[in-house]
Each structure stands twice: as C-alpha cells, then as structure tokens.
Subunit: 110 residues, 2 copies
DNA sequence: TTAATATATGAACAGTTATTCATATTTTCA
DNA sequence: TGAAAATATGAATAACTGTTCATATATTAA
C-alpha cells in the first residue's frame, strides 16, 4: 500500500498518557520563536549567538527557548571552546516540520 | 530517493509569515483536549455529544474546542437533524498526528 | 406553538508561557 | 590571575489560553 512507515492504521488504540505526551510534544512546534530556531537548525548546527543574530532575537530569548528544546530532546548541544553549537536531535523533528509545512503550503496554494 | 512527497529538501527558504502560520498550525495539536478529539475523529465522523461522552468531557468544552478546530479548517461539520457530526477536514491532519505519534512511541521504546 | 434535545456562545477566572532585564557561570586568552 | 566573550538562569511582568457556568440558538416532534 505504501512504504512510509509513519503512515499508520486509522484504528489506533492510543492510551491517554501517550495522547498527553503527544500534545506536549506538538507544543514545542507551536511557538514562532521555536519554529524559527528549528527551521534554522534544519540546515545544520548553529551557535547560540549566530541563532540570535540570524533570527534577530535577543541572546536571552534564544537561550531560554533552547533550554526548552534541549530538555525535550528536540535539540542537542555541543561545546566548542566557549561556544555552544546546537543541532536537531533526531530526524523526526525535521520530518514533522516538513509535514506541517507541506500542509500549510498546500492550503495556501488554493 | 524517496516517493514521499512531504519529505522536502533541507534547504528550505521559508518566509517569516509561513513560519508564523506553521507555528499557529502546530498549536492546534498542542492541547490534550484537541488531540483527543482529533484522535477520536481519525476513525470517522462523530457527533458533539458522542465526542463529549466518549472522551468524558463537558459538552461546552467540546463545542469550544471544535470551534477552534473548525475555524482553523482542521475539522468540518455536517448537520443531520439537530445533531452535528464532525470529521477531519483533510488527510494531512491524520498524517501529522501519526508522524508525531510514531516519534513518541519511538522515544518510549528506548 | 410549546417542550425537549443538541449545540453554540459569552464572560469571567485561573493557569500557563514567552519575553525582558539583570546577573551568574563558564571558558579562553593576555 | 583578571578581563573579555559566550551562554545560561532567575524573577517579574504581560499576554494568552482553556475551562467553567450560564445562557442563547436551532431543530424536531407532539
């Protein structure tokens, strides 16, 4: 039928706490600052200051949001000297981003 | 390379307002009540009272959340007599739900 | 038309969250 | 060791959001 493993059956039996975790997970994508950071990191790792500069955000804002993303294992840090480079933790993050993006662009195209 | 059209290139050039819309879009998935409603509607259309009953929620809560989902075109209503049946508007909704779900289950499996 | 059923809506409240500002921590280099 | 650079953190505030409760609207059947 299809070879995309993440297309699942429609008769899911999903427990209440998994649904809760799922909504918590989507919350991380539901903020403009975070989605811009995720989008930027799609092309590879970037330091905190570079994120702030490229997105025209205050360093403090970026650090706060990175902490949220890091705690949730959406991004991972790597120290190099006094710089910290952040990258997406997992290939699913980009997949979810792009699935949503495709939906938005598809809707706009009408 | 792959035949999944929603897997896009990693060198996205996405405008600021599309990123804003994208984060707004993900917000709808970022609430337990709404994600439970979406999950329930994955298996087909359900009336307002049935949603409330099956999810053990007050009718008012369901109506309020359905309005949000309806305004955002995530669900669509159909009137039958004095009942209103709601269903998912678009196949993307289920796809995004399942993509996130796969991620959660994958994480839990470790 | 009236009563009953099904759904929608408005206002108020409580809880959450992102940003701001100030400051602390960590690392490098002179 | 001390200063500078890079990042992290804490507290406070403002804005947003979901739920509750009461009520309004709409449809059907008697």
């Amino acid at each position: 039928m299809n070879n995309c493993s993440y297309i699942k059956n429609t008769k899911n039996e999903v427990s209440m706490d998994v649904l809760f975790e799922l909504s918590e997970f989507f919350k991380f994508f539901g903020d403009t600052t975070r989605i811009r950071i995720i989008h930027l990191l799609l092309s590879g790792e970037v330091s905190v200051n570079d994120i702030a500069e490229k997105l025209n955000l205050e360093q403090s804002v970026v650090s706060h949001q990175l902490r949220i993303l890091r705690t949730a294992n959406l991004v991972k840090p790597r120290r190099d000297g006094r710089k910290m480079f952040y990258s997406l933790d997992d290939e699913h993050i980009g997949l979810i981003f792009n699935t949503g993006l495709t939906h938005i662009l598809h809707k706009k195209g009408k």
